[in-house]
Symmetry: C2
Subunit: 256 residues, 2 copies
């Protein structure tokens, strides 16, 4: 006897993989990987993170490697929704936190357009992981009362707006994707009124074996980066203290 086949009901979970180290996923994220039928993953996902996926679970790399092209976002959207529509639990494993500078909105919209249930499991974003490594909180009572996570990327054909508007007193800026725009970062911070000796800290390859740190200033940013060889991916930390006209170093502020 034949039965009409009910529509298959798959689902999509966007999972934050954190900055790189396998033990910086949440417990919920690790458990989710064990229930996935298929995993689509980014570049910047360390091998140790992939080892958390059961060996029998298919995985698809959708990121970019040197000399190769990344999947366009639309192709990722199509692939994850197609798999979910076949009834699979699709895990979209994204570096960092899906909600922060991760284009999760497009994947959520694609799922919803097909009526596919979608959930998000948060991850540790690079700014937070880097602050922990540096033992330098993103807010410091009396010095900064907010943190702005910003990107130096922009859409094709657009100019980057710079940090002029966000480099206001009482702010820590954690700049993502900024290593290719360092002259613009410096110019922007000068326009915002920061002194050339205002401190900047860069942490690259956070929570990986290649992690590197550079302490520099607004005035020496470009030359120090070139001399050190520190490179993308990195978070650039800029502190604009409450007393913005005379920025103090983090060290001085700590002892105050």
């Amino acid at each position: 006897m034949m039965h009409a086949r009910a529509p298959l009901t798959g689902r999509i979970t966007l999972v934050g993989a954190g900055p790189g180290a396998a033990d910086l996923l949440t417990v919920r994220a690790v458990r989710c990987l064990h229930t996935a039928d298929i995993v689509f993953y980014d570049r910047l996902i360390d091998a140790g993170v992939l080892d958390l996926i059961p060996a029998a679970t298919p995985r698809v790399f959708v990121g970019k490697e040197v000399g190769a092209h990344a999947w366009p976002q639309a192709r990722i959207d199509a692939a994850i929704t197609a798999a979910a529509r076949m009834g699979q639990h699709v895990v979209r494993l994204k570096s960092g936190d899906p909600s922060i500078l991760g284009r999760a909105g497009e994947e959520i919209a694609a799922a919803r357009a097909h009526g596919i249930p979608v959930t998000v499991i948060p991850g540790i974003t690079a700014a937070s992981a880097g602050a922990a490594r540096l033992c330098q909180p993103l807010t410091e009572r009396g010095m900064t009362e907010r943190v702005t996570l910003a990107t130096a990327t922009c859409r094709p054909g657009q100019d980057w707006a710079g940090l002029d508007a966000v480099a206001i007193p009482g702010t820590t800026i954690a700049l993502y994707m900024g290593m290719l725009r360092l002259p613009e970062v410096t110019a922007s911070l000068r326009r915002a009124g920061l002194d050339d000796d205002a401190p900047i800290t860069i942490l690259s390859c956070i929570e990986t074996a290649s992690e590197a740190r550079l302490d520099t200033t607004v005035g020496t940013l470009v030359t120090d980066v070139a001399a050190s060889g520190i490179a993308h991916p990195a978070v650039i930390y800029i502190t604009v203290p409450q007393t913005a006209t005379a920025p103090v170093s983090r060290a001085m502020a700590h002892s105050a």
Copy 2:
């Protein structure tokens, strides 16, 4: 035969507990709790999180309960450093992410003043956990290119600066500790040029059994919150799209 006793070398680890759910700690945080000799924990740490601490491990509540007083920060600093100086591995379990609006800097400075090694394990901050629950990313390509995590608390005797300077086009604001300053939030956003119908989403008690959501606007914030009974702790999400003179709703922007 008597030996001179070597100085005991304890250490302090600041551990992010995330927003409330026990499965939103990182794997590293959970493992760390198993190596602690003593745990000092905040309010807002759910019972499920405390269950991750081995039963034999002493734990000390340093937060505030209704009708009682929180430990002053200086007393917390003194307690954790005293325990570490007795050779213990002290875990300071803090809700959210220690690096974001958590006064971790004071605890790090106290440890360093005593020569005690200190490390930080990041946690999921409330803004990130809430965005995941809402399936509303904190940045949306073409609409927002940065997210600012801000607080409405300020030091005794100081006025809150408001959101005037941070409510700039292309920004999502995640406001912590804002539920007692709603009229000031509204006034501030109006001064920044937001229309009264600009959308605001509030998520309270994120990732707990009491979680509650309210969708409102700049103009109806105060009355809607009063009518709904939604209360602290909560994150207030405000989106200032690129086209700031005519804010579009998140729903409209999604379909664009």
